[in-house]
C-alpha cells in the first residue's frame, strides 16, 4: 500500500501526462496577471461574456478541433498534413451551396439583391452542413485508404491532399472569395449563448471523442495500432480498418473546423482558410504531451496545447510586442514546453 506523502502526491501530479501542458497554460496566465493590467477583465453585455479569456478559447476553437482529430491520427503512428486544405474544401462547399450565383460573371439586379439578402440560401441550412461534412469525411477516407491499404507513408499520402486540396477548394469556388450573407450560417462562430458557440462545439467534440475512444475499446485499439501495428494485427485487430476510421474522423474534424473558420469571417476564402493550421494542430498535439511516434494519447492535453498557443498569441497582442518578434517569441514558448518532455531535461 502506497503512503500518501507530499512527495508521492507531487510525483503523481508531475508524472501525469497533462502536467506540463497545464503548467504551461497556468504560467502564461500568471504572466498575464502580473504584466498586463485588466487582462482577465470580463464584461457582461446583454447577458453575454466578453473578455480576453473568452477570445482565447474562441479563436483557439478551430485548432482545438483539428487537434482532437490529429491526436487520434498521431496515436496510430501517422500524421495528417491535409487538415488545413480540407478545412478550405469544406468551407468552399458550404459557401457554394448557399450561394451558387457568385460564380456568374455578371449578375442581374434580382440575383444581386438575393445574394445580399441575409435570409436567402440556395440549399437548406441543414443540407449545407451535412454536405460540407460528408465531403470532408470523403477527404479523410481518401487519406485513410492511401495510408492503410496502399501502405503509403502518412506524411507523403496526406501531403498529396495538402497540396491538391487547396487547389480543389479554389476550383470549387472558381478562385473567388465568396462572401456569405446568409445569417444563420454566421451563427456557427458568432452566436453567443453566454459564451460563444464554438466553445460549446469544442466541448461537444471533446466529450464525443472521449466517449467514443474511452468508453468503448476503440481508444485501446488505436493505441495498440500505434504502439505496434504488426502485433495488433496478429492479435486479431483489423489494424487497416482502424487507421481508415481514424483518418476519416480527422477529416470530419477538419470539416467542422472549416465551417467555424468560414462562419467566423463570413467568407469562404479558399486561399487562406486553414492555411498552415495543420502545423498548429500537430504542435498542439505535441505540446499536449502526445508522442509523435504514436501509442498512448490524451485528448484533453491536445486541447490544452491549442489553448497554450492561442494564449501566447493574444498575450503578445496585449503586450504590444512588435510584429516581427511575434513568431520568434511563440517559437521560444513552444520550445520551452517541449523541452520539459525530454527525459534528459527532466532528470537534469
Amino acid at each position: 500500500m502506497k503512503t500518501m506523502t507530499p512527495f508521492n502526491i507531487w510525483k503523481n501530479i508531475s508524472g501525469s501526462k497533462l502536467f506540463f501542458s497545464f503548467a504551461a497554460l497556468v504560467s502564461i496566465f500568471l504572466f498575464d496577471l502580473i504584466f498586463i493590467p485588466n487582462f482577465f477583465a470580463i464584461q457582461l453585455r446583454d447577458g453575454n461574456l466578453y473578455g480576453n479569456v473568452i477570445d482565447i478559447m474562441r479563436s483557439a476553437s478551430t485548432v482545438c478541433i483539428l487537434a482532437i482529430g490529429m491526436t487520434l491520427v498521431i496515436a496510430t503512428g501517422g500524421v495528417d498534413l491535409s487538415v488545413g486544405a480540407v478545412m478550405a474544401i469544406s468551407a468552399s462547399v458550404a459557401a457554394l451551396m448557399m450561394n451558387p450565383y457568385v460564380m456568374a460573371k455578371t449578375l442581374s439586379a434580382e440575383t444581386q439583391r438575393l445574394i445580399n439578402d441575409p435570409t436567402f440560401t440556395f440549399a437548406p441550412f441543414g443540407s449545407v452542413i451535412i454536405a460540407a461534412l460528408v465531403v470532408a469525411v470523403i477527404c479523410g477516407l481518401w487519406n485513410g485508404i492511401l495510408v492503410a491499404y496502399f501502405n503509403i507513408p502518412a506524411m507523403v499520402a496526406t501531403l498529396i491532399l495538402m497540396i491538391s486540396g487547396r487547389g480543389i477548394a479554389q476550383l470549387i469556388t472558381n478562385g473567388i472569395r465568396i462572401q456569405i450573407f446568409y445569417e444563420p450560417f454566421s451563427y456557427i462562430a458568432n452566436l453567443w449563448l453566454i459564451i460563444p458557440l464554438p466553445i460549446y462545439i469544442v466541448a461537444f467534440m471533446l466529450v464525443l471523442t472521449w466517449f467514443l475512444t474511452r468508453k468503448t475499446a476503440m481508444g485501446m485499439f488505436i493505441e495498440s495500432v500505434g504502439a505496434n501495428s504488426r502485433s495488433s494485427f496478429y492479435s486479431g485487430l483489423d489494424e487497416k480498418f482502424i487507421k481508415l476510421l481514424v483518418y476519416a474522423f480527422c477529416g470530419f474534424c477538419a470539416g467542422v473546423a472549416g465551417l467555424i473558420a468560414s462562419s467566423n469571417i463570413k467568407t469562404s476564402d479558399a486561399n487562406n482558410i486553414g492555411l498552415l493550421l495543420e502545423l498548429d494542430a500537430i504542435l498542439a498535439v505535441v505540446i499536449g504531451g502526445n508522442m509523435m511516434s504514436g501509442g498512448r494519447f490524451t485528448l484533453l492535453g491536445s486541447v490544452i496545447g491549442a489553448l497554450v498557443m492561442q494564449a501566447t498569441k493574444i498575450s503578445m497582442y496585449n503586450l504590444g510586442v512588435p510584429a516581427n518578434a511575434v513568431m520568434a517569441i511563440q517559437g521560444a514558448v513552444v520550445l520551452f514546453v517541449i523541452l520539459f518532455y525530454s527525459k534528459q531535461v527532466r532528470e537534469f
Partner: protein
Amino acid sequence: MTKKFFTIVLILLFIVPFTAFVGCGHETRGVKCSPHCTYNDMVVGFIQTGSEGGWRTANTASFKETAQQLGINLNFYDAQNKLENQVSAFRNFIADPKVNVIILAALETTGWEDVLKEAKVAGKIVVLEDRRIDAAENLYAIYIGSDFTEEGRKAGREMITLLNDSTKKNVVELVGNVGSSAAKDRGTGFREAIDGSGIVITESQTANWSATEGKDVMAAFLKKSKDIQAVFAQNDEMGMGAALAIKEAGLKPGVDIKIITVDGTAGAFKGMIAGEINTVIECNPLLAPQVYEAALKALNGDALPKWVPSHEGVFYQKDAEAILPTRKY
C-alpha cells in the same frame, strides 16, 4: 538494349534544347516592323508566378483579355510558383524566333542576370510587371508595378482627412506578412504622410494578410483600449476582419472607428456600401494595358523610363455603389 536506347534519348533531350538555344543566341535579330509596329506584330511570352489569390487571378485575366482585345498573340506560361519553371520558360521564349516581347512577373528578385543577357543578345524586349528584380537597368526595357510606399502615403493622407474633425487621433495598424515589401513600404509611406498631423499609431501588429487574424488582433486591441479612432489595414481582408471585431465589441465600424484598407477587392466595395469601410486605396492588378503599351513603345525603339508606377486610385464610400459592378476582382 533498352538501357542504351534510354541513354540516347536522355542525351538527345539534353542536347536538343541546348543547340536550339545556341543557334538563336548568336544572331541578333531586330524586330522587322520597327519603328512602325502595331499590336498585331507583337508576339508576347508572358511568364506568370502561379496562382496565389484573387489579385493574381485578376492580373492573369487582365493580360489574357487585353491581349484578345488588342489582337496581340499571347503565349501564357504559368510557372506554378517555381523559379526553375520561370527560368526554363524564359529560355524557351528566347529560343522561340516568333516571340519578340517577354513579360515577366518574377518570383525572386535575384538570379536573373544571365537569362536577361541572353534575351538582350537575342534582341527580345523584356518588360517586368508587378515584381521588381535586382538586375542592371540596361538589361530590361521597363518595370511596371505598384508603388507600395505611395499607397501608404495615400492612405496616410486619407486618414488625415477622415480624422480632421476628431479631437483624438489614435490609429491602429494591421500589418501584412512581416518582411514582405508591400507590408514594409505601405507602413513607411503611411508614417511619412501622417508625420506632424497629430495622428498617433498606438498599436501595430501583423495579421498576415488574413481576415481571421485581422479579427483576432483587432479584438485584442479593443480589449486593451476602446480609445481607437481609426484602423489602417494594409489589405482588404484584414480590414474586413477588423470590422467584424469592432461590431462584436459593440461599436460601429466606419462610424465610431474609421477603416482605411488597401487593394480594392469587390469585398471591400461591399464593405464600403454597407458603410463599414471608409476609404480604399487601390492596388491595381489590371496592369495589362499599361504593360502592352510600354512594350509596343519599346519595340518601336522609343525611350522609356525604367519604372512606371501603375495607375492607382482612391475609392470613397459615396462612389462605391457605382464602381462595384466595374470591379473585376
